[in-house]
Amino acid sequence: MAFRLFAAPSPHIHGGESTRRIMGDVVLALLPALAVSTYVLGWRVLLTTAVAVLACVLFEYLIQRFLFKRGTTIGDLSAVVTGVLLAFNLPVGIPWWIVVIGALVAIGIGKMTFGGLGCNPFNPALTGRIFLLIAYPVQMTDWTTNVPDALSGSTLLAEVKAGVSGVADINLVEMLYGQMNGSLGEIGSLALILGGLYLLVRRVITWHIPVAVLGTMALFALCVALGDGGAMLYKLPLFHILAGGALLGAIFMATDYSTSPMTHKGMIIYGVGIGLLTMIIRLWGAYPEGMSFAIFIMNAATPLINKYCRPKRFGVK
């Protein structure tokens, strides 16, 4: 026969979306921020990122190959995304073995114990970061290693929290370009926003979660500024959006598919929750930064949000 007939239920064509393309887009969107932090903090940024990515991919491969004994899915690039995000949540001077432990927790506990991609209730990279933050608090908050002279040895949020410096003295434009200290991925604010826009254009994410998170934080900060007498009406909200992991979290971590709600309404609730919790931890909590904990807590609430936020059905008022 010259031809072979195929049969399948409809639809017979596919939009061409693939998991690999989506994950590839996320990695691509993270590259500008990586470039900025390499420029600011030096070559060690690349080394840490490479270690994290390699470790994540390796652990995913080993677990699937030898523990689950089924085909590996490292080709979908999700482990690469986890690796980059994990690295972005670490200080630059962190010893490499801590990065590897973080990768093991992220992939092994955060992802594979729940059945792999799409089944994890918590963001794997965040699981890794929070584990490291609790297990190695000294190394995880050591911002002094390898820091160029232009920057101080601690993060802005920590300085503000400790009362070392006031928000009023901070140059917001410098923050935007990345002239501040922090984890790898927290530095290039402008680059992160660019990456976010790319993801929006490629329809990898929708605007709902980032806007809800950042909007809530800004509003919260505005209220605080009003309560303080209205001296920093513009500055305080902008400071909180640009400082720390707010942008990284809102654009890249909170939008993780399997740990965020399915409907737009749910996404808004989820985003508002993250924004509120972040601000509460930042202003009154023990830690200077609350983004990762806020996302982690709201990840836990996602199934509940999904249960109650159903999409609006056609023909139902």
Binding site: P9, H12, I13, T19, R313, G315
Partner: protein
């Protein structure tokens, strides 16, 4: 520009392959097999016997009950057999096989091409003529038209919507019909308006067919067709879905089943159906032929054929240069909702608006991966359902929970499977769920 309120996708329309091909009359087949079920509802009952001579347009099978349709002989000749033969899906169904001898028509059919606009018949007479002619919805759903036009007591039709959307990629049969048979179409709309006793009719056309919109507007102005307007709609699949089209045109959403479109005062008819209605009422011509698009990127030749029912799909393919080599998928309909044909000897039927040939790489499905909960299917679902969830519930055979999550509201448009980055066959399982849940609902109704 208007469109339907939720969900939808934008597949590339691929109409360029056949949109400029004028309608051609295809050579008459030497032998036809006419299935007794070409519509939704009960199969028709044959009223001819083996050896009988039949004329073109002669009734050969009678509708069984109200929701059913008459079937007429598309050619003249001798009944060769009445038996079960394989249809396009390879399933055995009752068919009447007629061997052609010439092309002798039933006398009462007016075969002149001149337009006959005046219609003084009462609504009941119009509907009974449509019923006699065996007209069914020609967009693919094949619901008997006379049933649709019979408005239940206590409800009133306010608007007639003509579906000229043709949102399926590739297909161009309605488009060519609108361009080449515009006046018949508009007269058909007038007749349908008369049958329904409505003052307003809207022809919905997607804006990827601007020349059809312009042409119809032109004809309406010239011919002074009152109450008929053409509405250009923003191109988006599945705009041609009945509920989606009503929402796009009127802004009213049909409530979930069991509510019917008439509950918001709308009746929807396909553009080609409207031409068939014109022919049936004004020319006494039953439904024996239709425009069928034969299209595909790899075909040597694409066509818009006017062909008699019962013509084997194979001969239509041969007229387009035969099937290309390698892996192919032959579809009865378009790529979003069409059905795979595995028996090429099967006949073209009333609901076949096109035969689409997809090449292996275009049609083959990617490897299934794990659901990453990206919610793209939720955003794409035009009914506002959660395809990932109801598909999973069907796969797990949790039928009751699938029912709770409104699996029965699914219109099987395929947007979810189209958009899934993990290549999950979401709709495949949802369809099974729908069938089972429907069975459960019927069983419950029986118990009561």
């Amino acid at each position: 520009m208007r469109t339907f309120p939720i969900g939808g996708i934008h597949p590339s329309d691929n109409k360029k392959w056949s949109k400029d091909k004028a309608i051609e009359v295809m050579a008459l087949p030497d032998e036809v097999a006419i299935p007794m079920i070409q519509h939704i509802g009960a199969p028709a009952t044959p009223i001819v016997a083996k050896g009988d001579k039949v004329l073109t347009g002669q009734i050969i099978a009678q509708a069984t009950g109200f929701v059913s349709a008459n079937i007429h002989s598309p050619i003249s000749g001798v009944v060769k057999a009445i038996d079960e033969f394989a249809n396009g899906e390879g399933l055995y169904r009752q068919m009447i096989v007629i061997k052609r001898e010439g092309d002798e028509w039933v006398e009462s059919i007016d075969r002149s091409t001149e337009l006959k606009r005046e219609c003084k018949l009462s609504p009941a007479d119009i509907i009974s003529k449509i019923k006699d002619a065996g007209i069914v919805g020609m967009g693919g759903a094949t619901f008997p038209t006379h049933v649709k036009l019979t408005v239940p007591d206590g409800q009133k039709a306010e608007i007639l919507i003509i579906n000229g959307v043709e949102c399926e990629p590739y297909l161009t049969s309605d488009y060519r019909t609108m361009l080449e048979r515009g006046e018949e179409l508009l007269t058909g709309v007038e007749i349908l308006m008369r049958a329904l006793n409505v003052e307003r009719a809207v022809i919905g056309v997607e804006n990827n067919k601007p020349d059809a919109v312009a042409h119809l507007n032109d004809l309406i102005a010239k011919g002074n067709y009152r109450g008929i307007e053409v509405m250009a709609l923003k191109t988006r699949y599945p705009q041609g879905g009945e509920k989606q089209l009503i929402a796009a045109v009127t802004g009213r959403q049909v409530p979930p089943p069991p509510a019917l479109p008439i509950s918001v005062g709308a009746v929807v008819c396909n553009a080609s159906t409207s031409v068939a209605v014109y022919e049936a009422v004004q020319k006494n011509k039953p439904l024996i032929e239709r425009v069928v698009t034969i299209t595909g990127k790899q075909l040597k030749d694409t066509h818009n054929f006017l062909l008699r029912f019962g013509t084997p799909i194979k001969s239509v393919l041969d007229a387009a240069g035969g099937l290309p080599e390698g892996d192919v998928k032959v579809l009865n309909g378009g790529p979003m909702m069409g059905r795979s044909v595995v028996n090429l000897d099967a006949p073209v039927m009333k609901g076949c608006s096109g035969i689409t040939v997809l090449s292996g790489c275009e049609a083959s499905r990617g490897k299934e991966l794990a659901c990453i909960k990206c919610a793209k299917c939720v955003s794409a679902c035009p009914m506002g359902l959660e395809p990932y969830l109801i598909s999973k519930l069907s796969l797990r055979q949790l039928w009751d929970r699938a029912e709770e999550h409104k699996i029965m509201e699914c219109i099987e448009c395929g947007c979810c499977s189209y958009t899934c980055p993990s290549n999950l066959p979401l709709l495949d399982y949802i369809r099974i769920g729908k069938q089972t849940v429907m069975g459960n609902i019927r069983a419950r109704a029986m118990k009561k």
